[in-house]
């Protein structure tokens, strides 16, 4: 049995949630659909673990769709970088779904819950597909599958607050513009190389050398993916979409959607376009790097002045994406390691924090910080989870946030750019301010009279604390994540020829 399934794991990774989605729709009211979606997401998680174990030592799995050999057929290519991102996506899905049960029941009418879980599974399938595929056009198709499902998921927050509709609409417009830029970029690459297979593209682009069509393709892909991953200043869709989506959706999206877009960016910048080409390196260092630094400060500053907890965390996400892009645009191995390790670390931290926000909405009925006065006494476990997640956001030692910032600072010091290292630390101070605001309100202010708030149910607390636990575990013992990220980074650097010329 196992021997029969094992060679097809890469295909099953995407096919299982994709095929399961329409069945999920037929399962009537909430309960059954939820159980079904949970089982499916657990199965995809198990497959991801198996793929990660197979690729951890640097093996590359190449799966030929339908037996057609690449570059003509579509190839699913799993190396340690994909496998790492697959693990983030399917792991988040498997942990968010148990949480979703109570949260979704409170926020979405029972007769629509099956549709909600269907869209959720489609979103998972799309994100996994983007990550695993080795075909450039396939990336676009899966990106749109996941995005369309995401628009629907964000809009399903409309039962709680009608602004979810306009948030989803704006996300749709921005996301589609991004995807279209991306597909034009792929068209440019195709027009000079005549192939869509990523590995083949890399070889042929290296043979082709520099040309204005390729430069155009590079810029369009950067722009398109920049919109999808909320690169400052293309992040305008993100705060509203995260603030008004149902809590479970926000937790899932914050952990996965932007991370997968960052993966696509890494893959295209280094594996596909990575040839000795100053224009590309210059763009990353002269355009993306300053924008990343501005994002770290501007978004953190805006976060300080938000009253809504989910909005505050959304702006903090924009700032954290700044750290990821900063690592990527340093163009050295440590920087890319920092980027990849922060993909995981930020996913874990932000998922935990958005789940806490969801617990507040569930029990206290609000995510407005000013209305959460004294909540630390009524909901001790939830608030404690916020503190632990907040410490990781700041980057205190023994949390995953510290590991990321450590690598990031090392990478800047390797280049001798100590002002950038100082800026990383300065922007962490801003994180202290916005995390402290919540802690102060929750613990030091008295609860308003006549307000009763019960602790969130265990089905929500346990997944939240698992994420918190992960953020501490991998903060103390970062062997697994750092090794995987380091190997992925050296593979990326190895596959590209970018050399920074001083």
């Amino acid at each position: 049995m196992m021997a029969l399934i094992e060679p097809h794991l890469p295909a099953l990774q995407v096919v299982i949630p994709l095929v399961a989605a329409p069945f999920c729709m037929m399962l009537g009211r909430g309960g059954l659909a939820w159980i079904f979606a949970s089982v499916v997401s657990l199965a995809t998680f198990v497959i991801s673990i198996a793929l990660f174990a197979q690729t951890y030592d640097g093996t590359i799995i190449s799966y030929h769709m339908g037996g057609w050999a690449p570059p003509i057929g579509i190839e699913y290519r799993v190396d340690i970088l994909n496998a790492f991102v697959l693990l983030i996506v399917s792991g988040s899905a498997a942990l968010v779904l148990p949480y979703a049960r109570s949260s979704v029941a409170a926020e979405i009418p029972a007769e629509r819950q099956a549709l909600f879980y269907t869209a959720f599974l489609l979103c998972v399938a799309g994100l996994l597909g983007v990550t695993i595929t080795g075909d450039a056009f396939n990336v676009f198709v899966f990106l749109e599958i996941s995005s369309l499902a995401t628009y629907a998921l964000v809009a399903s927050g409309a039962w709680a607050n009608k602004r979810a509709l306009t948030a989803a609409y704006n996300y749709l417009i921005m996301g589609t513009i991004g995807a279209t830029f991306f597909v034009i970029g792929i068209g440019m690459l195709y027009s000079v190389t005549g192939t869509l297979n990523m590995a083949d593209l890399a070889v042929r682009i290296a043979d082709h050398g520099d040309s204005s069509t390729l430069r155009m393709g590079f810029v369009l892909i950067l722009l398109g993916i920049g919109l999808k991953l909320a690169m400052f200043p293309l992040h305008l869709w993100l705060p509203n979409a995260y603030a008004y989506a149902p809590s479970a959706v926000t937790a899932f999206l914050a952990a996965t959607a932007t991370k997968v877009a960052v993966y696509v960016m890494l893959r295209f910048m280094f594996t596909v376009l990575g040839f000795d080409y100053e224009f590309q390196a210059d763009t990353l260092r002269m355009v993306v790097l300053p924008l990343a630094i501005i994002a770290m400060f501007a978004a953190s500053l805006v976060a300080i002045f938000q009253d809504d907890l989910k909005r505050m965390l959304a702006y903090s996400s924009v700032a954290q994406i700044g750290y990821i892009l900063l690592g990527l645009s340093l163009l050295n191995e440590t920087g890319i390691t920092a980027s990849i390790v922060h993909l995981f670390n930020h996913a874990v931290t932000k998922a935990a924090l958005f789940m806490v926000a969801g617990c507040f909405i569930f029990s206290a009925g609000t995510s407005s910080i000013s209305k959460l006065a004294g909540v630390g006494r009524d909901m001790p476990w939830t608030t404690a989870a916020f503190v632990a997640g907040g410490l990781s956001l700041i980057g205190l030692p023994l949390t995953v946030g510290f590991i990321s910032k450590w690598y990031l600072v090392l990478a800047t010091l390797e280049l001798g750019w100590w002002p950038v290292a100082l800026m990383i630390m300065a922007s962490s101070l801003l994180a202290i301010i916005y995390v402290w605001r919540v802690v102060e309100v929750a613990y030091l202010q008295p609860a308003p009279a006549g307000v009763t708030r019960k602790e969130a149910p265990l089905s929500m607390l346990i997944p939240t604390w698992i994420f918190v636990g992960l953020s501490v575990w991998f903060g103390v013992n970062a062997m697994l994540t750092a090794t995987a990220a380091g190997r992925a980074a050296s593979a990326l650097i190895g596959s590209s020829h970018i050399l920074w010329k001083d």
Partner: protein
């Protein structure tokens, strides 16, 4: 002097790219500049259609025919791959339009308008108005 002369053949010979750029910019401009949510989606459609044109014209070989075996070894075929890709992209475009229009319908139902500035005004009221109730808007 010859370097300065406008190479008319170069410009006219690439008319498909010119049309693509004009259509693309038209679509993008409509999407960004219009306040009406339906018109934005129309602009988005034009924007996407321009990409279809780019891909399809890339695959065209002068004098080429559809890739169906004719038995004649001298037949010139156009490249069918971009066409197939665009078939997929058209489906994606239709799905996006459908989701977008469905959202517009719901926005019209809940806000009573599809003009962006009026919606922004309503949302501004929700944020800063005198305690305007939020949520539970769906009957």
């Amino acid at each position: 002097m010859s370097e300065l002369a406008i190479d008319l053949e170069f410009i006219l010979g690439r008319y498909n790219y010119w049309l693509f750029s004009i259509l693309m910019m038209t679509g993008l401009y409509i999407t960004v500049s219009r306040g009406n949510l339906i018109k934005k989606i129309v602009g988005l459609n034009i924007f996407q259609t321009s990409v279809f044109m780019l891909y399809i014209s890339l695959g065209k070989v002068t004098g080429g025919t559809a890739p169906i075996l004719t038995g004649d070894p001298d037949t010139v075929y156009s490249n069918p791959l971009p066409h197939v890709l665009i078939l997929t992209a058209i489906v994606v475009g239709i799905a996006t339009t459908a989701v977008g229009l469905a959202l517009v319908v719901r926005i019209k139902e809940t806000y009573g308008t599809i003009e962006e500035d009026e919606i922004l005004e309503l949302e501004h009221d929700m944020d800063f108005g005198n305690g305007a109730p939020q949520g539970g808007s769906r009957a």
